[in-house]
Symmetry: C2
Subunit: 155 residues, 2 copies
DNA sequence: AAAATAAATATGATATATCATAATATGCAA
DNA sequence: TTGCATATTATGATATATCATATTTATTTT
């Protein structure tokens, strides 16, 4: 019965993909998690954003990002210095080995994506993205009115 | 750039749905997490399966299931006695309040699903499920041969 | 300028997930 | 029947996520 529910299928697919992708990275002997890699990527592409923004990008909260950054620094993949312009902020920059790691992981990720999507052409993937986006938006309505309605409905 | 990746969209959609669905349950003042509810459901529908099977159904590991069951028992939603037939196993049965809770949650879940899928008709949902299933299968190939190929490719 | 407010990051407490392994019970082989 | 392999659940160690809040710095108000 669970199998009939789309959200179950969704969860199933993404969880399996994550395992699969992580295995692809591990297999190459690279010591990083998908989530750490994601954060590292965001920082590389947008070095000036704060932890809140990163958190939003990768769907975690600020505290989680702080701890992942801590980890990345400990692993020597990231340099962190307090910003001169605004001493609340951090200047972050990938280290050499951080850049190297990103480069090393790239083929694993590409290969993972390829294999995961085999049999689905570009048009299908676009359609899929579009529908998932609709679900996302449907779930993003923070309406307190509809909250009330929901309550009333079963009052 | 992250936005272009299907797996990112996938993760985004499922995470947002989870928040959304949990909020729908919380809002009704029901004290259970989606994952606890899922496990409770599986046990109700298939009372005789072991923790390994439950784990597989909900994509967690056996240890997590053991702890969730522990919780459900503590919350008084589940009765657990060692099985007479096989004393390694547990006989599990929802308590009255466990059944009640499932019943109470049902409308929240239904409402959540409805709203999350609004604008997507049944055919679309079926197609979506089908494609997600393909991704799942693509990621389920535990081939050690292809592992070797992957390595060679970048040797 | 002083006080109040806001912004950015860090951290304690807690919950949950996961790995490895322990503890217990069963079933099979000899 | 005794011993060994297997099956089932529990648990310690560790990692990660999340909430609430603390800490530090910047900005705004008066």
């Amino acid at each position: 019965m669970l199998n009939e529910v789309i959200f179950y299928t969704l969860e199933k697919a993404i969880k399996r993909y994550r395992q699969f992708a992580q295995a692809g990275i591990d297999r190459r002997g690279i010591d990083i998690t998908i989530d750490q890699w994601l954060v590292l990527n965001v920082i590389r592409d947008m070095p000036d954003v704060g932890q809140m923004d990163i958190a939003e990008q990768v769907f975690k909260d600020q505290a989680s990002i702080a701890r992942i950054i801590e980890l990345l620094v400990k692993k020597g993949l990231l340099d962190r210095t307090t910003s001169l312009a605004d001493r609340r902020k951090l200047d972050m920059k990938l280290t050499e080995s951080g850049c190297q790691l990103i480069a090393d992981v790239a083929p694993a990720i590409a290969q993972n994506r390829m294999q995961a999507l085999s049999g689905l052409d570009e048009a299908v993937v676009e359609q899929l993205k579009c529908w998932l986006e609709i679900i996302f938006l449907n779930c993003s309505i923070h309406s307190s009115e509809s909250t009330q309605q929901l309550h009333d409905e079963h009052a």
